[in-house]
């Protein structure tokens, strides 16, 4: 029973990473009907930006500023900077290909990812960095279950971000334009909406979210390397498909589901089988529900 509850906490933590990153895939798909395959590497770049900002701020302010304040500053500054990475990817990578077949955009995304990985290797070298702890880790023992404040923070911060995004999508004019585009894009420009505003904004939000996920990830698993975005990126992509292409809610829920499947499979099967069984389960779900949880049937407009 203890292990069961312990696993729930861990599943929520991993689910948070997947959920926040997979939202980036889903939002871009909703607006442009393409998957940004560089998103996993945008997560990596965001983590490195967060690492740089954290190191800098700790060196400058740790003497007279409380840790939580530095933590919030790191998040805000990193989000801001990382959003430009998203805008850059959209403008340089995808905008010139808007009329091109979707396969070209997919290949471009993969290439941008490789450029980020190797670019990072060239600039920072092969040494691994360690993300500095911004929050002093405290472990609570609640009836035999060990909960660290970092885990709680990861889960809470992710939920707060997703709620903020939900408000943005529901309430603001840009959010409404993003929603509208995912249902029918031909009418949206007639409302005076420029796709060259909405598309980069979508990429910026995705990158901003991914960078915060990266900072939180760095608090739990501090080792940084240039390929850290690949596996997490692909898993988040799977979550985006499972949730239903273009559905933000679906992506978030599927992200958590993925976290739970990954955590609970090793309770029954040998842990080396984890991914094999976890992704077989997802394959079965998709066989019976190819649209994912909230995907729309009219996504047959898929132009890949």
């Amino acid at each position: 029973m203890d292990i069961f509850l312990q696993n729930i906490i861990n599943a929520l933590q991993w689910g948070s990473f997947y959920a926040v990153v997979s939202i980036g895939y889903s939002m871009v798909y909703g607006v442009l009907m393409l998957f940004n395959f560089a998103h996993g590497d945008i997560f990596m770049v965001g983590t490195y930006i967060g690492f740089g900002i954290a190191t800098l701020l700790l060196a400058l302010f740790s003497a007279f500023m409380p840790g939580w304040m530095i933590f919030i500053l790191v998040i805000l500054i990193t989000m801001f900077l990382a959003s430009f990475v998203g805008v850059f990817v959209e403008m340089v990578g995808y905008r010139p290909l808007r009329g091109a077949p979707r396969a070209s955009a997919a290949i471009t995304g993969l290439m941008i990812g490789i450029i980020f990985e190797t670019g990072n290797l060239i600039i920072l070298g092969a040494q691994r960095f360690s993300f500095p702890p911004l929050i002093e880790s405290v472990t609570y023992n609640i009836g035999g279950i060990y909960v660290t404040n970092v885990k709680v923070l990861i889960i809470v911060a992710s939920l707060v971000m997703m709620f903020a995004l939900h408000l943005f999508i529901k309430k603001t004019k840009w959010g409404m334009a993003m929603r509208a585009m995912s249902y029918d894009f031909q009418a949206v420009p007639l409302m005076g909406v420029s796709i060259n505003v909405i598309a980069p904004m979508t990429f910026a939000i995705g990158a901003g979210l991914a960078s915060v996920a990266g900072i939180l990830y760095g608090q739990a698993y501090p080792v940084l390397d240039p390929y850290m975005g690949i596996s997490l990126g692909w898993k988040a992509f799977v979550a985006a498909i499972l949730g239903g292409r273009g559905s933000i809610m679906g992506a978030a829920l599927a992200g958590y589901l993925l976290g739970f499947i990954e955590m609970f499979v090793p309770m029954i099967f040998p842990s080396t089988f984890r991914d094999l069984i976890a992704y077989s389960i997802i394959l079965v779900i998709l066989t019976f529900r190819p649209r994912g949880f909230f995907g729309m049937a009219h996504s047959t407009q898929l132009r890949l």
Partner: protein, 257 residues
């Protein structure tokens, strides 16, 4: 003074196919004009060319004397051109009131920070937009559906939402692409009333593609007939109705039957 809409010698090729050739059109403020023609004549292409979906191969397109040829659709929309679509371009899973609010996009001038902090300007604008949206819903007799999901509305009501949405952008000229397609006779009569009302209350010019002769004849002051990308006849409804070339295009040559 320059006419509201001025199209001169507009020609467009899709590859080697001449889809529209030498199209001319002048619309003055407050006019209602119709465009008829058999399927595949290029009517919707004319709409797409003027609204900036395609860039015409040749010709002049001006709105209030300003060039709109090759200008992006969202800019043309902001300059005062509204449009509805033949196959309802509505946003499934969004409710009716959000459709109308969305159409006020350009009238909401607050910035990202304003939205984030909920400044008085932002709230004020949002409130005005919401009020105006409800007014439009009432005008188009769809206020009872305000919070309904668009997909659950009867077809005729969906058409009215699309028109209300177009009017929310405050157009000077409204393009209607087959506004009565798929409508029941009752809904059709309702639509004629609504278009008259929109025309009267907003003083907007209207340019419509329509298949139902009675509808066009009732509403339009002048009608163009298009066949294979070319305008073969132009004039007031009664003239068009009796034009032998138009009759031939619609019904075929007499001796063949």
């Amino acid at each position: 003074m320059a006419p509201l809409l001025n199209v001169r010698n507009m020609t467009h090729f899709f590859g080697g196919l001449r889809a529209v050739s030498d199209f001319n059109l002048t619309i003055e403020p407050g006019e209602i004009r119709g465009l008829i023609g058999p399927n595949g004549a290029g009517k919707t292409t004319v709409f797409n060319l003027i609204t900036g979906v395609y860039n015409p191969t040749e010709g002049v397109v001006e709105l209030e004397g300003e060039n709109i040829k090759g200008v992006e659709t969202h800019r043309i929309a902001d300059m005062g051109l509204g449009r509805t679509f033949q196959n309802l371009a509505l946003w499934r899973h969004m409710n009716v009131i959000d459709h109308i609010r969305m159409a006020h996009y350009s009238q909401l001038t607050y910035g990202l920070l304003g939205a984030f902090f909920g400044t008085p300007k932002c709230r004020q604008q949002e409130k005005e937009v919401l009020d105006n949206s409800y007014k439009l819903l009432e005008l188009f007799d769809i206020d009872q559906f305000a919070t309904h999901n668009i997909g659950n509305l009867p077809y005729g009501a969906q058409r009215r939402v699309e028109m209300a949405r177009a009017m929310a952008t405050r157009p000077k000229i409204l393009f209607l692409d087959e506004p009565t397609a798929g409508m029941t006779p009752d809904e059709l009569i309702r639509m004629i009333e609504i278009i008259r009302q929109v025309h009267r209350d907003f003083g907007v010019a209207i340019f419509m593609i329509e298949h139902r002769m009675k509808f066009v004849m009732d509403l339009c002051e002048s009608i163009q007939t298009m066949v294979f990308g070319e305008v073969i006849a132009e004039g007031p409804p009664e003239v068009i109705q009796n034009n032998p070339e138009v009759i031939e295009a619609y019904l075929g040559k007499e001796d063949l039957h």
